[in-house]
């Protein structure tokens, strides 16, 4: 077997572990984008926010679970701030996300007091559960996999309840939802807030897995997450709530294996973002190209 393939195969478990953690971020991108019709960029700031908060608290001697809980709350606050800016001032959702993401960069630096913290010598979720073998990728896969399975099951239950149906209605048709007595404010704040909660949680788990927190860890996470989501939706489809919920996990798993394969085949890491960007562009452009010819109507309408 050629060496390149061997190195790819050897990396499979590590890559799975990594992609399950990023699946939280992809979930955090999917919820506003697909369920609420609220294209949101907050994750680029919420992911390092979760990492920084978790890193600082763990390095200060707090319990990893407590640290992650605080990080999740901070994430919720970040997401609901984006939602509030859009709702209260009528600022475009993407712009609101960019504002929050940019401001979070300073906040993250303030939280950590420096650009990165090494966490190798401190406690972590993985060390707590399995002190002897905490760095084993299969063990990480089991822990993170269980966590995301529980979260997806809970989300699925919530989304098909009476309350969850009204929240999805806001994404499907805001006018209709409002006329049926659904508060667009509370659904949007709750939904976008929870999405950033999951993103921050992903950041919190990631820093414990990689052993350090860095303010720049969010750079490019959004486009990676979007690429993963698009692949995931191609695998699972979007017809039902369940399929839509499974797409982030399926997509993250497939996307990171693909990246790993490309890298082992000789793609320069420096070109990775360009390659990812082109991939997302092609996937998004495909429907327009298939229709052939003319300039298409803007399909993903952005809520004013």
């Amino acid at each position: 077997m050629p060496d390149v393939l061997l190195s790819f195969i050897n990396l499979i478990p590590v890559t799975i572990a990594q992609s399950l953690i990023v699946a939280f971020v992809v979930l955090g991108i999917m919820i506003p984008f697909r369920l609420l019709g609220f294209p949101d960029l907050t994750s680029e700031g919420a992911y390092p926010l979760g990492g920084c908060v978790t890193g600082v608290l763990i390095a200060s001697g707090y319990d990893p679970v407590f640290a992650m809980a605080v990080a999740a709350c901070a994430g919720f606050l970040a997401g609901s701030t984006t939602a509030f800016i859009h709702l209260r001032f009528g600022i475009n959702t993407l712009l609101a996300g960019i504002l929050v993401m940019t401001m979070l960069y300073s906040i993250n630096l303030r939280i950590m007091g420096r650009t990165n913290i090494a966490l190798f010598t401190f406690d972590s979720l993985f060390k707590d559960l399995n002190p002897a073998n905490f760095n084993d990728p299969w063990f990480k896969i089991a822990v993170v996999g269980t966590l995301i399975a529980v979260i997806l099951a809970a989300l699925y239950y919530l989304l098909v309840t009476e309350r969850g149906t009204t929240i999805r209605a806001v994404g499907a048709s805001p006018d209709m939802a409002e006329a049926q007595g659904v508060s667009i404010w509370s659904a949007t704040i709750l939904g976008v807030g929870s999405a950033s909660l999951f993103t921050a949680l992903g950041g919190g788990i990631m820093v414990q897995s990689q052993g350090f927190a860095d303010v720049n860890m969010g750079f490019g996470i959004l486009i990676n997450g979007l690429a993963a989501l698009i692949i995931g939706e191609a695998i699972t489809g979007r017809k039902t709530v369940l399929r839509q919920l499974l797409a982030p996990v399926a997509g993250a798993l497939a996307y990171y294996q693909l990246v790993s394969l490309c890298l082992s085949l000789g793609l320069a890491p420096a070109d990775l973002k360009l390659a990812t960007g082109l991939f997302v562009l092609i996937m998004l452009a495909l429907p327009a190209l298939r229709r052939g010819g003319g300039v298409p109507q803007l399909k993903e309408k952005i809520r004013e």
Binding site: Y157, S173, A177, S183
Partner: protein, 259 residues
């Protein structure tokens, strides 16, 4: 049950585009009233409906439903009393959600949604029965996304959704205007049956003068934010389309075309 007192709203005040959409309107509907509003474009019909639904804020005046002052309540808080069918079939339903989910949303209108499963077997059976009344086969398509339905089917669904749970006040905003004549007649027929069956209080805007004369017990004609004419049965029953055109100087070509 509905009292509109001195409702006034001016768009773009102080500019050359200033337009009085509502010029201090008083309207009282009693239980069971079916009131039809006609008037040319820009007469203030939609503004009146939007003001009652909460979509349009008033400069002056107040709106009371069942004696409760709702003037300051947002749209979603008024949904407890009011249901509405829009002119655009796309607005009244959620296209990516299924027929059953749309019915559930209407079912939950004005209630506090709980954290319990929404589409129970009993509810699905109930929705199947409610949809069967339409005779459009929608009862067999509960799990189909509403976006796959035709405009007429969607509007019929909107109507069933609007009358389910017997709202205190039903607002119909030219709800057959975007449909082809045959479908429009079917939807209008279903509307009249539903209103009669549940004894609903209705405010309906239309451009169609013969429709305005055929249904309802009250007729209001609006012009530049005023009520130009108000009649009720039995006087309303004696009116004819030529009467309306002659006596009240109808200016709108669209109304003449549809007469």
């Amino acid at each position: 049950m509905l009292e509109v007192k001195g409702a006034a709203r001016t768009f773009y005040p102080g500019t050359s585009d200033e337009r009085r959409a509502l010029a201090g309107i008083d309207l009282t509907l009693t239980e069971g009233d079916f009131c039809v509003v006609i008037g040319s474009n820009g007469a203030g019909k939609s503004s009146l409906l939007n003001a009652i639904a909460g979509k349009l804020k008033l400069d002056h005046g107040s709106i009371l439903i069942d004696g409760e002052n709702v003037t300051r309540l947002p749209v979603h808080r008024r949904a407890r009393f009011i249901s509405r069918v829009f002119q655009d079939p796309m607005l009244g339903t959620a296209p990516t959600m299924t027929v059953a989910e749309n019915m559930l949303l209407a079912d939950l209108r004005g209630k506090t949604p709980r954290l319990v499963p929404g589409l129970t077997a009993e509810r699905q059976a109930l929705y199947r029965d409610r949809l069967a009344i339409l005779n459009l086969g929608l009862e067999d398509r509960l799990d189909a996304p509403v976006g796959l339905l035709s405009g007429g089917q969607r509007q019929s669904l909107s109507l069933i959704m609007a009358v389910s749970n017997e709202p205190r006040l039903l607002l119909l905003d030219e709800h057959t205007a975007a449909l082809d004549p045959k479908t429009a007649a079917t939807v209008m027929d279903a509307t009249i049956r539903a209103i009669a069956e549940f004894g609903l209080t209705v405010l309906m805007v239309t451009h169609n003068m013969s429709q305005a004369l055929e249904c309802g017990n009250r007729l209001i004609m609006m012009d530049s934010g005023h009520f130009q004419l108000q009649v009720a049965t039995p006087e309303k029953d004696t009116l004819t389309v030529p009467d309306l055109i002659e006596r009240f100087h109808v200016k709108s070509d669209r109304m003449l075309l549809q007469a």
